[in-house]
Amino acid sequence: MAKTWREWEKPVLELEDVIQKLKQALPTASPEQAAQIEHEIERAERARENYLRIKYSRLGAWERTLISRAEGRPYTLDYIRAIVSDWVELHGDRRFGDDKAIIGGLGKIGETSCVIVGHQKGRDLKERKLRNFGMAKPEGYRKAIRLFDMADRFQLPVVAFIDTPAADPGVESESRGISEAIAAGMMKMFSLRVPAVAVVIGEGGSGGAIGIGAANRVLMLEHSIYSVIPPEGCAAILWRNADAGPQAAAALKLTAQDALELGLIDEIIPEAFGGAHRGPAETAQNVEQAITRHINGLASMSGEQLKLDRRTKYRNMGVFAVHGGSESLPFSTAPAQSS
């Protein structure tokens, strides 16, 4: 099975390559050649569309994992550029440093000024290193916390974009308390008296994701994933084989569709045909509409109601039963079982 998005999409990518080359050849072609080339383009584009339709209509958990990590996929700053006006990026945790793997700032979505934070991956090798591959360190979460605090004090809604393989697992991060930073991020979000909307735009990687994800409304892009552990890591532990990623991905139920079914997220935002990377503008528009709709929906709630709404939402997550009993389980979605 494919191990990367590029490998999995290889046939389409090749077709797209062919189409591009044909189009490049067009201007210098003779009229006869041109007709032929146009015909070929048309055929290739039809093939591409059919291929994409089929490929994207029966995506498994593993395929979605690959797409969620696709290099060409829009990242947080791409969405900010597309849908945010008057953007002012704010830096630093006022304690130790400025983490480039979590960005934050002030900006307007529609007519509403918001505090916006998000994981940021890098596009090229240099930026990827700068962004630490989207793996945030403690100071990233602490910057987010500082901005959440500002949002709360100044009554600005919070919007969080989630896109991280995991929090940074290095010695430095352990030394400065990555665990505490993630935990404090969640706790801070639970204290907010303003609307908070989180959107998983790519990889929702375990603690690294939930550290800025404890929102009133959690939305996921159609081909994003959200998981307690990367499937490869799960495979390495349970199957003693990192190549069992596809198996683990299926077992973990990490797709947006699974998460919605399990009642853990609120909505799936559709992506452009063939994935967000094939239609970033269209996808960004869908994201903007969804965020605006949810922020407006939450606007009627008081600060206390918003806080209670968030607490209750997560309070109700969990599936358990009572041994031999039939206690009513308002917080459980599964039937009582006897062990």
Binding site: E174, A184, F190, S191, V322
Partner: protein, 262 residues
């Protein structure tokens, strides 16, 4: 302490021969190298709280298998057999030198103390009870992290328990946590690190990323005491490392300071 017929054991650290009775009398701390061996939840309760003061709550909560995850049911059954319990957390109400606390104690013997829905629910109820009754919460951790067999539901237990910590904090009720070996990943990155006072037993493994994750990520230049209680103390992450022999009296003093005022 549960004392079984006297047998020879080997210290998990220095490998010296120990008598089980003697070890039990010494709170399972090796008399030769001071290694703190893991305690079961029952042992922890016995050596921490006033005699017969512990009243268990929610002993009957059991895990389901909502994802129908491979082998999960068997693992649960094995955990039950090993510990005689339905999941990794024992919770209840107890007293330390007369002062009432809401407590939860993790048992590493049940699926490595991992946090699924039941553990998340029990921790949450422990903190909620503390908030309601305005008594300190005292939590003993011992966990490899979130229970991956419950997938995203387990990850959400991190948020759920963090929400309960926020409730406690908002209500001005103290939250005390004792890290025992090991306290890792999803547990360290949620309610454990959100305690007001954090004590840790000497030499306990305390960290975010498991060895496997670190190895995969190519983490290098690992200090000798990396991810120990002592490492965390030196980096300002915990309040103190406390020997098991003085842990009870330290907890009692802390609970005393926090109880007198309410």
């Amino acid at each position: 302490m549960q004392v079984k017929p006297d047998v020879f054991l080997r210290c998990a650290k220095c490998a010296k021969v120990l008598f089980s009775k003697e070890l039990a009398k010494n709170l399972k701390v090796c008399p030769h190298c001071d290694h703190h061996h893991r305690l079961t939840a029952e042992e922890r309760i016995a050596c921490t709280f006033d005699e017969n003061s512990f009243q268990e709550l929610d002993a009957d909560l059991i895990s389901c298998d909502p994802l129908e995850f491979p082998d999960y049911e068997q693992k649960l059954a094995r955990g039950s057999k090993a510990t005689g319990r339905h999941d990794s957390i024992v919770r209840g109400i107890a007293r330390i030198d007369g002062n009432e606390v809401s407590t939860a104690v993790a048992d590493f013997g049940f699926m490595g103390g991992s946090m699924g829905s039941v553990a998340g629910e029990k921790i949450t109820r422990t903190l909620e009870l503390a908030a309601e009754n305005r008594i300190p919460a005292v939590v003993f951790t011992a966990s490899g992290g979130a229970r991956m067999q419950e997938g995203l539901i387990s990850l959400m237990q991190m948020a759920k328990t963090a929400a309960a910590c926020e409730l406690l904090s908002e209500n001005g009720v103290p939250h005390i946590c004792v890290f025992t070996d090991p306290t890792m990943a999803g547990v360290l990155a949620s309610y454990a690190s959100l305690a007001d006072i954090i004590l840790a037993e000497p030499g306990a493994l305390v960290g975010f990323a498991g060895a496997r994750v670190s190895a995969q990520a190519g983490v290098a230049n690992v200090p000798k005491d990396f991810q120990t209680s002592e490492f965390n103390l030196n980096h300002g992450m915990i309040d103190d490392v406390v020997h098991r022999k003085t842990l009870r009296s330290t907890l009692s003093a802390i609970v005393g300071h926090f109880t007198r005022k309410r």
